[in-house]
């Protein structure tokens, strides 16, 4: 038993994404999912036939239908859709109890069985990720009451919900407002979301519209593009912070500190804090009227 501690590694360019889409039943989540790039839908919910624009799908009635998937099987596809994650967990639950009846009681999992469910579902997500495809997890929305408010949550059982939150790079909810479907990624006080793409609320085109085809593919691409911009910004910010970490220990007087103020301001809050902390270490205080650091005694005597 050991915890391996390493330095935080360099940022990695994003080539594939895990996206969670959730919403109330009947709003067209499956149809939306089919607008991803070259999709294969793992149809745990047996609802793909209702989709307006049905493409390739695997009708899953037993976990063995997906357990043996290989990279070769998925070669023609670029996006794997799990529809729905909640129903996939139900199918996996049945498989766990079938394989080891001691992990179930009265059709429900024991505590140990839930641990097995979480572990196997996590492994399944890792398997899908290992194929290098984009993964879209579809989930139903569960409305819960919190005081006078209704809050929207993923309708997924037990600890596995935590695994979905952990796996999600982006998370959006499909809602109906004024008769229009919208896809919202930003979180609110009453709903979860992850919006690394900095996406505005998106109007989902009508299924009959030419722009509907490829809609989710374009959304996923926008999120990837934005994440890769963030990766580049991360590289630059890391380099600048490292420069301050290397330089500040050598800085020992007010002139040298003040010469770095402009660079620290441009580099962002973390570098400003590091500069300020170093100034305090060497006995300087910030003179607000002058906008620079000064020796404590000198600044106080001038103020007096």
């Amino acid at each position: 038993m050991a915890l391996k501690i390493t330095r935080a590694s360099d940022p990695i360019t994003v080539e594939r994404l895990n996206t969670v889409i959730y919403g109330p039943p009947g709003l067209g989540k499956t149809s939306l999912a089919f607008t991803a790039e070259a999709p294969l839908l793992l149809d745990f919910d047996n609802g793909s036939h209702r989709a307006a624009n049905r493409k390739d799908a695997v009708l899953v009635s037993d976990w063995s239908d997906v357990a043996e998937m290989t990279a070769d099987d998925l070669e023609p596809f670029k996006t794997i859709i799990v529809d729905t994650a909640g129903r996939a967990l139900d199918v996996l639950t049945a498989d766990i109890i079938k394989t080891n009846p001691k992990l179930g009681r009265g059709g429900a999992l024991t505590l140990q069985g839930y641990g097995e469910l979480k572990s196997r579902f996590t492994s399944f997500l890792k398997l899908l990720n290992s194929f290098g495809k984009d993964v879209v997890l579809i989930a139903h929305m569960d409305e819960q009451r919190s005081g006078d408010d209704i809050v929207e949550r993923l309708d997924v059982q037990g600890g596995s919900k935590g695994e979905i939150y952990k796996a999600a790079d982006a998370m959006g909810r499909l809602v109906l407002a004024n008769g229009k479907r919208r896809l919202l990624f930003s979180p609110t006080d009453a709903a979860f979301g992850k919006n690394p793409g900095q996406l505005e609320p998106l109007l989902v085109p009508e299924t009959s519209s030419p722009s509907f085809d490829g809609f989710l593919a374009s959304v996923i691409q926008r999120i990837k593009d934005r994440l890769n911009e963030m990766t580049e910004a991360q590289r630059e910010a890391m380099a600048e912070q490292q420069w301050f970490r290397d330089t500040l220990p050598e800085v020992a007087d007010a002139d040298a500190i003040n010469a770095l103020i402009e660079r620290a301001n441009a580099a962002g809050p973390a570098c400003k804090v590091m500069l300020h902390n170093r100034a305090k270490e060497i006995g300087l205080i910030f003179d607000k009227s002058e906008g620079c650091y000064a020796e404590k005694q000198k600044a106080e005597s001038e103020a007096a």
């Binding site: 915890l3 391996k4 005081g147 930003s186 979180p187 962002g268």
Partner: protein
């Protein structure tokens, strides 16, 4: 007025909890009586702050011992950095466990991992604002006391949240609500330790 991010989060949770009174929240903010779980969490933070690269069977700090589970943890070198940001008449302050580039890392100890609790909170939003960062990563460790001052620690759950377009407005609105509350119920309290 100065406010810790953690106190604003307590205020946010208090607003959502019909059973908590104003007195409950005022007492929570103004008294410093850490529970055993909080003391253990503080000790674990201290242990990680001091931890060097390498494999560790256990870590110790503040008289506590932590027996570690298998796992890997990538820790930035900039640790325990306190920052400030003004929202009108309120200055909000928070101390990050680690930061690197435009990413903030935060360690949490808990009896049971509950992703929704972290995602619902406002702490990550304020930290991203205060440190001008884009991505917030939680390292959540489930800890269990096995004997006095000794805990077993799970491998960390890693959870991520990102800056979003409306985040600044959400923080400003919550900060204004907290300021209004503090002016009425905490008029003499400087709600952050010196």
């Amino acid at each position: 007025m100065l406010a810790r991010v953690s106190n604003i989060e307590s205020f946010r949770r208090w607003r959502e909890n019909e059973d908590q009174t104003v007195e409950d929240l005022v007492r929570f903010i103004t008294t410093d009586e850490p529970s055993e779980a909080m003391l253990a969490g503080t000790a674990f933070h201290r242990a990680l702050e001091l931890a060097q690269d390498g494999e560790h069977q256990q870590l110790s700090a503040n008289g506590y011992t932590f027996i570690l589970g298998d796992g890997e943890l990538a820790l930035p070198e900039i640790r325990e950095l306190r920052g400030y940001r003004r929202y009108g008449a309120l200055t909000v302050t928070g101390q990050v466990d680690c930061t690197i580039g435009k990413m903030v890392h935060d360690h949490k100890t808990t009896a049971r991992f509950d992703a929704e609790r972290y995602l619902t909170g406002c702490q990550w939003k304020f930290y991203l604002e205060i440190f001008g960062a884009d991505e917030f990563r939680w390292n959540v460790f489930e800890i269990k006391e096995v004997e006095p001052l000794t805990y077993t620690v799970s491998a960390p759950h890693r959870l991520t949240a990102y800056r979003y377009p409306e985040m600044g407005e959400d923080c400003a609105r919550l900060a204004a609500d907290y300021l209004d509350f503090a002016r009425r119920f905490l008029p003499n309290h400087r709600s952050v330790a010196a």
